[in-house]
């Protein structure tokens, strides 16, 4: 704030937000859906960070996850299939003061939106991307997605999926300018919250792949991991997530991983069992597109008008005297 008095006035009028302030309507996701846990974690974060409602924008594409903006009492943009990221980039470019969350699914991001995804990583614009990965197209009732496991029987692959699934973590870590990559699972809310919070504070493109259950179409997909906590490996580090004593009693499979280590992050990303959970990579030094391309000064309407008049005058043919 330029005027010191503004800070004082804002502090005086500071009103605490409750989690209900960020809620809008009743989610229409299926009961038991992992999307609920992600929504709750984001709402908790907004409350804890005291983010003004009008300073948040949630952007989504198409899919179950893309109903996310409807359930946030903030600005939202339910855009086209696969186009959440370019819309979010436009918002961030024009309004860098807004906090941008992108909710996208495995189909929305890794299939039709794959080109935007790759370039969004490269642009490294400051936004928090939540990739809800239930490994199935749920909204259209069970078609195979790019992350579906090999052999998965679906309405489009009745004999089983033919291809190995795409690994979003490895793909993201392979793109230049990558700056933040994490993996979470919806069934460990404490870690999910921590990861989203750290992604939010990271200045750059924060990509979180969140493995989530689809109780309707793939109810047993993650059952082995739910039943056996040792099949989840928590990545802990002073610069990553901190595993609480309570959590450590359940999840004993821990690995100390420095998020600055890109090579090790790539190794970890390639492992699917046990599921690595935590911050794989973080580099705050990567330049951000919105900063690189930010104008060196602000143009007021009067300045724009004066500039245009000046340019136009160059081509004006003045009548002869």
């Amino acid at each position: 704030m330029l005027a010191p008095v503004t800070e004082c006035l804002l502090r005086l009028e500071d009103e605490p937000y409750g989690i209900d302030d960020y809620r809008s309507g009743v989610p229409r996701w299926c009961t038991g859906c992992g999307d609920n846990a992600i929504l709750t974690a984001v709402q908790r974060l907004c409350r804890d960070e005291k983010l003004p409602l009008e300073k948040i924008v949630c952007v989504s594409g198409i899919g179950c996850a893309s109903r996310f903006p409807h359930y946030m009492n903030t600005y939202g943009f339910h855009s086209l299939h696969g186009r959440a990221l370019p819309v979010a980039e436009g918002i961030k470019m024009r309004r860098p003061d807004l906090h941008v969350f992108v909710a996208t699914g495995d189909g929305d991001c890794c299939s039709i939106g794959a080109a935007h995804w790759i370039h969004a990583i490269r642009y490294n614009m400051d936004m928090t991307v939540l990739m809800h990965d239930n490994q199935i197209y749920g909204l259209t009732k069970k078609q195979v997605s790019p992350t579906s496991p090999l052999g998965l029987r679906s309405n489009t692959t009745p004999r089983g999926a033919y291809l190995e699934p795409l690994n979003p973590l490895s793909a993201t870590l392979g793109v230049s300018n990558v700056s933040f990559v994490a993996q979470a699972v919806d069934w460990i809310p404490e870690v999910l919250y921590q990861i989203i919070a750290q992604a939010f504070h990271h200045k750059g493109f924060s990509f979180i792949r969140i493995l989530q259950r689809c109780p309707e179409f793939l109810p047993d997909l993650f059952e082995p991991w739910l039943q056996d906590p040792d099949k989840v490996k928590l990545l802990s580090h002073a610069d990553g997530i901190e595993v609480s004593a309570g959590l450590a009693k359940t999840y004993k499979n821990l690995e100390a991983h420095d998020p600055a280590n890109l090579d090790r992050a790539r190794e970890i990303a390639s492992v699917t069992d046990p599921i690595p959970v935590g911050i794989l990579y973080r580099n705050s030094a990567v330049p951000r597109y919105e900063e690189i391309r930010a104008p060196d000064r602000t143009f007021t309407p009067a300045m724009v008008k004066a500039g245009l008049e000046k340019e136009m005058d160059k081509f004006t043919i003045w009548p002869a005297d």
């Binding site: 704030m1 330029l2 005027a3 008095v5 846990a37 460990i188 739910l226 309570g246 000064r297 007021t300």
Partner: protein, 784 residues
Amino acid sequence: MRSHIESTGAGAAKTKPAKPKPARRASGANHENKPDDVKADAMELAPSAATETGSGADAAAGPALRPALLAGYRNLAALRHDFPLLLVAGEGGEGGDGWVRSLSGMIDGILQDIAPQGAEGEALRRQLLGLEREVRALVSRGAGGSLSELWTRAAKQLRGVGDADASSVADNLARARNALRLDGAVIDCDAESPAKLFSHAWTTMQRAKTRAVLDEINELVLGLSDILKADFMRSDAARAPAALKGAVGTSYEAEFDFDALSRLLTDASPRDALPEPRRRRIGAALSVLQAQRFFAPAVAGEDNGEGLYSFAFESCEKAREALQDRLPAMVALIKAIAIAELEIENRYKAATHDAFFESFDENTLTPEGWALFPTYLICLRDAALDAAETATLIELLSSSLPMKIMLQSDDILAGPALGPGSLALGTPSTRLANMAVGLGGAYVLQASGASLYRLRHRIRSGLEYAGPALFSLFSGAGPTTPGLRPYLAAAAAEQSRAFPVFSYNPAAGRDWASRFSVADNPQAAAAWPVQHLAYEDENHQRLSEDVAFTVLDFVACDRRYGEYFSAVPRSEWHARMVPAVESLTGEAGGAPEATPYLLMIDESDALQRVVVDHRLLQAARRCGETWHSLQELGGIDNSHAKRLLESERELWEQEKAREIEALRGQAAPAPPEPAVEQALPAAVAEAPAPEVAAAEAEEAPPSDDPYIETARCTTCNECTDLNNRMFAYDDNMQAYIADPDAGTYRQLVEAAEACQVAILHPGKPRNPDEPNLADLIERAADFE
């Protein structure tokens, strides 16, 4: 003389071989060998000696003689030193101390960048150093202009002389020129340089600050304009057919039915216009922001700058009047900025903020608010400082206003005309800096013109300081030291403690040790700086001695004080003659028979002994005491610290003595006390870490009651959908059992079975009459 002058011979006065007359043979420091037949002492020598040697002004201490330590600096233009300086133009000068550069430093930098190591780069080094010498000579002869212009002139002269290959010179200088990335005005050390340098520093810093603030203001203008524009776009006027037609343009206007479009938009869009008071408030703030006159546009040419306030003054009174006149506009601008920020953040609350802003006036301005605006630069000459101006100056320094006052003195001795029997060195204006330090809240820097480059960081600190600042400077360009160039005179004043360097920065900390410093003086820990003087005797034998440079040496350069000095012919030197510094420091000062003298040189660099009048000695002692006071304030030889140290040492020695006595008196050692670990109960010693204890406390389940591991709940709605009175969400939207009696044991068991993460534990049945309990208890066993 100063460490920042680089030259062969500098600091080592090399006198010519002694000539037969007058007494020029230097005798070195061996006083025992000196002749003892000088009859007159200092008290009675001055008038008679002046008669003997001609006029006192010209013969004794005028242009004819100068302190021996200045022997190496006759041709200053041939010596590499700080000056000339480049006042870096444009944004290259912004940030840190890059606003000013030394020519020598820049040439060194270029050589480091482009000159190959060894013999290969020798020609380039020689030619570029030659160019530097030419530029320095041009500037010393009064040539002005930018570095690029002076470079061109110097290069032309270099190409025209010597036997060097002209094309090689041109090529090398062209390469060097390409490596020269900065430009700006070049200044020498003269009467005008302090004002030029300060104006440049201040302008550079204000430019960066203005750009930043103006950009913020433009952001606010844009934000407010956006709000008004959005409001307009929702208005009937914006949806009128004519407005829509204008928005589409002429190319495709035939394709549209603007009446129909207008009707559609008017009917379909929500009507939520800005409340009128808010629109007025935003409009008013916008007007103030757009009409402000404090900050010039960031890019020249966007505005002709008419109507902008000026912040550079030559009088304290005028600066104060200007500030008073502008105060209402400052308040209005701060208010508009605050309102704009609140409006853009959507945080303006009329119920509370209206009253606050109505009573907002200059008394509400905080130091942070003042800091937004440009500071005021006032360049003063002490000659124009009358009583009224001095009073205003002190008033400004006592305030917290951002006044940056540069007070330049060209003459710090002002002649010996004082009352009978008394002689005081220094003019009233030169004491202002000492007084300003006592005010406590003003930044103060006293320095000579020769040190401006070396002290550029202190100049920057003073200009950046939020409150008032006084820069008291001695230019060295007075008319009474015609034999010395201003740089040398200024440096001599600083060296001799006649005008010592000190700085006081209230922002540097809360104590004197942090705020006050005399460390920028040469040999700050010494009473007088001592330099090594080497010379030859009449037999061409090399001699040397350490010579102090005292305030007497500086005064001896001033022709007005000629009658207080007298050269003594060598034939009259005697054993009671002692270096004047000994008399000043008290080592021999108490001996009435001692005759203090200075070592000086004449125009042919022959050494002379010059005796000093006792009145001047007394004045010099007072000057030394003033310097000692500054040293104490700066933590050097501080008497309070010494006393404290002494008393602490005494206490320590007494304590140690007692301990020794006690040890001697001990007949046998006392039995050892039990170790702390042994005294502790085992349970305490083995207590787990708090974190683990907390975790264990958390996990302790109630015996038969149902419970949920709330922290692991994923908000999946399974249980709340089953019974939202029995199960509820907490503040984190995670489930807990709100009322175990609000449902059946069956619902508890079914909820546990439905829970995706198996964190619901049904416990034992609370109603023994519930049907099918046995089956339910068996199903619940999986979740215990």
